[in-house]
């Protein structure tokens, strides 16, 4: 982590702004732009205040960056972006992308994304990433010039590989299974949590009605009047407190969401492995069949059924010269194939090794982060209860004075 960009540079996404502009099809659209500010850390140590560089980026540019990173470093679990659209909302939360609360939470998510990339030992050294942070103009062109889109594997190919691969590394199979389960359990959790929040909101808000009734009631009472009135006030406070409580909980939900999306990134690495392995298996299979063909031609025995074999039987065998030519071609192909297979094998092993190293790093990060998230969630709950106790204690005091 010593060479991490995060250590050398302070990165923040400090502001969000609504903009209107014209898109590629010359249609007017509204979007939000985010201000990225960077400042070199080293000079701060010397007591000087380094100048802050800043530039504006929009969400689609973040997406482009992430796509580039995913394709260029397929063995890395690339940090996810915050959600594009508001998901797992409960009734008070808006599903509108322009809603200020959503924009604010997204701003925090984007900053988190940049910090994660900047603290990754491999990703932080990427030049495109650096340019994203520092170079306003011409960045998009720079990315496209890398031609990364060509390297991207088609979804179809990947799906095909998933079904057909015969001998993937067991650890990857387990990891794939794990990430599927993780996705499922976290999204279930988030859904239920949203419903729980909704219900809790209802409970608190109805208590606000007590405030009104107590106030009205206190008007007709003599000795009880003051007590009722102040108790009513506390009920109002109680009802209002839920807004802050649930806002804090959204932060917890966002932390869980990050790992929900991380599961997808894990899946992507597994898919890449499957693809490579499948590729390898296909190449090996191809090589084997070519060797066999060669052997058959050389020895004249037909071991396996082949259309060529049949046709040659039916329509007469080839001339020795034809056969020789064929054998030569095959032998060349076999040699090429063996070299390719060797390099593919090497590639595969390297991939597995480096991927697994990053996966271990990711596991540690995940355990650490989630533990902290759970702790802060518990702390939140405790504080919520303490507030509840406070309110009811106050109300009780008011009642005792009646």
């Amino acid at each position: 982590m010593e060479d991490c960009l995060a250590k050398k540079m302070e990165i923040t996404v400090s502001e969000a702004e609504k903009r209107t502009g014209r898109n590629a099809m010359n249609i007017q659209e509204t979007y939000t732009a985010y201000l990225i500010e960077t400042r070199a850390v080293e000079s701060q140590i010397e007591g000087q205040c380094a100048p802050v560089d800043s530039l504006w980026r929009r969400y689609s540019e973040f997406e482009l960056l992430r796509n580039y990173l995913s394709v260029t470093y397929p063995h890395i679990v690339v940090p996810p972006l915050p959600e594009k659209r508001a998901d797992f909302v409960w009734h008070k939360l808006s599903a509108d992308n322009m809603d200020p609360d959503f924009v604010e939470r997204r701003r925090i998510g984007l900053e988190n994304f940049l910090l994660r990339v900047a603290s990754h030992p491999v990703l932080c050294q990427d030049k495109i990433f650096y340019a994203f942070l520092t170079q306003e103009g011409g960045w998009k062109e720079m990315v496209n010039e890398t031609g990364f889109q060509l390297k991207a594997d088609s979804r179809l190919k990947a799906l095909n590989a998933t079904f057909r691969v015969k001998n993937p590394d067991k650890r990857f199979t387990e990891l794939k299974h794990y990430s599927d389960e993780l996705q499922s359990v976290i999204s279930h959790l988030l859904r239920v949590r949203a419903r729980v929040a909704d219900r809790l909101y209802g409970v608190y808000k109805v208590h606000g009605n007590y405030g009104r009734v107590f106030s009205e009631w206190s008007a007709i009472e003599k000795e009880m009047g003051d007590g009722l009135q102040s108790a009513g006030h506390h009920m109002d406070v109680y009802a209002a407190s839920i807004d802050d409580i649930l806002e804090e909980e959204e932060h917890y939900a966002d932390q869980l969401k990050e790992y929900l999306f991380y599961a997808e990134a894990l899946r992507a690495v597994c898919r890449k492995h499957e693809l490579m392995q499948y590729d390898l298996e296909m190449a090996a299979q191809d090589l084997t069949s070519k060797k066999q063909q060669c052997e058959e031609l050389a020895t004249g025995t037909v071991r396996t059924f082949s259309l060529k074999g049949m046709t040659s039987k039916l329509f007469g065998q080839e001339t020795p010269e034809q056969r020789e030519a064929k054998i030569k071609v095959l032998e060349e192909q076999i040699q090429e194939g063996e070299e390719q297979l060797k390099s593919k094998n090497l590639e595969g092993r390297d991939f597995v090794k480096s991927a697994w190293a990053d996966i271990e790093r990711f596991k540690e990060q995940k355990n650490h982060d989630l533990k902290e998230a759970l702790i802060s969630y518990a702390v939140m709950q405790i504080s919520m209860c303490k507030k509840g106790i406070q309110v009811w204690t106050n109300a009780k005091e008011c009642f005792s004075k009646m």
Partner: protein, 370 residues
């Protein structure tokens, strides 16, 4: 207002009822001191009886007393709801100017509630106990002969039949119920009480609805919580290092569910019935007010008739006066009493809710996330 007859004779306002009510007012204050109390009544031990014709519940009514009106120092009898109902009616008849405490509702409005379920029987028992204790605390009602019989008679049914035969006594009470006289002006004081009672029952009704709504919302919250907890458990099964903290969270949520359930139960069993009881109380107080109005109307009409006819000394107005006086006194006393009761009741409720909030916290604090 000067209450004097046309011939100048001042109407006797210092009737025996007034002086006794003064004494009673002093007695009421003493009643709060347990040591000077000489009559203790408890309702407990509900039992189910299955007969050929019907099934019903009886309660044990235990009395301990040093009063001369009672032959023995201790009594233990069994009574069922309709016996309590009979007692209340008898009290209303024989002491029409007094405020008789309310009984729990005869029929359960909700419909699907089991009359013999433990919770229902217990709620009813508490209400019946409170009913008798209130009568016990009342300086006049506690000396009522019907009350005495209720507490002591082995065979209450025989006494009931006896009472039915004495129609003459019925005649007296009928006079107060069917007045037919129209009151022109309710005195300010009573008008104020009437207004208060109206608003009071209105507000209590609203609180009852709010409390029920809260309980409903809490139960819906509980449903979601019950699904929420196990998901953490499932997740825990998936993880290695995180499984302990995740299981911990799951367990805590489970505890919260239990605590919440208890809270809702307690609210339903203790808070709501008392609200309803006070609403009933307000209703019967309003009835007493109406009766008082009747009595006053009768008095005024008779007074007019007297002024018109120039009769000597009408007997009825004196009685009427007596009644009015009593009503005034007791109304004031009982109202003061009610305030005090309300005060204490509310403290009890909030203590209850506080206790629940406390329990919640304890469970949350058990979160074993390291």
């Amino acid at each position: 207002q000067d209450l004097s007859l046309p011939n100048g004779t001042p109407v006797d306002t210092s009737s025996p009822a007034s002086s006794s009510s003064l004494l009673n007012r002093l007695q009421l204050d003493d009643d709060l001191d347990v040591e000077t109390r000489d009559l203790f009544v408890t309702v407990d031990d509900p039992k189910k009886h299955v007969c050929t014709m019907e099934t019903y519940i009886t309660y044990r009514v235990t009395t301990k007393t040093t009063r001369a009106e009672f032959d023995l120092p201790e009594y233990s009898v069994r009574r069922r709801y309709q016996d309590f109902d009979w007692l209340r009616n008898k009290l209303e008849e024989s002491q029409p100017t007094h405020l008789i405490p309310p009984l729990p509702e005869k029929f359960v409005v909700k419909g699907v509630v089991d009359r013999f379920s433990e919770e229902f029987v217990e709620t009813r028992r508490k209400a019946l106990d409170k009913f008798l204790k209130r009568i016990t605390d009342h300086p006049v009602l506690s000396f009522n002969e019907h009350f005495n019989v209720f507490l002591t008679a082995k065979d209450l049914n025989a006494y009931k039949k006896q009472g039915m035969a004495l129609l003459s006594k019925m005649g007296e009470s009928v006079k107060y119920v069917t007045g037919g006289y129209k009151l022109r002006n309710r005195p300010l004081e009573f008008a104020a009480i009437g207004d208060y009672l109206d608003t009071f029952s209105l507000k209590l009704g609203t609180i009852d609805r709010i409390a029920q709504r809260i309980i409903k919302e809490q139960l819906e919250y509980l449903v979601e919580l019950r699904e929420y907890g196990p998901v953490y458990s499932t997740w825990g099964g998936l993880e290695v290092e995180l499984s302990e903290p995740l299981e911990g969270v799951s367990a805590c949520i489970g505890n919260c569910c239990t605590a919440l359930e208890e809270l809702s139960e307690d609210m339903t069993e203790d808070f709501l019935p008392v609200l309803r009881e006070y609403i009933l109380y307000a209703e019967s107080m309003k009835n007493v007010l109406k009766k008082r109005d009747q009595v006053q109307a009768e008095y005024e009409a008779k007074l007019e008739a007297v002024a018109f006819k120039r009769e000597d000394r009408p007997k009825v107005p004196t009685d009427v006066e007596k009644c009015q006086d009593r009503v005034e006194c007791f109304n004031a006393d009982l109202k003061a009493d009610m305030e005090r009761w309300q005060n204490n009741k509310r403290q009890d409720f909030r203590q209850l809710l506080m206790g629940m909030a406390d329990k919640n916290i304890q469970y949350y604090e058990k979160v074993c996330v390291t």
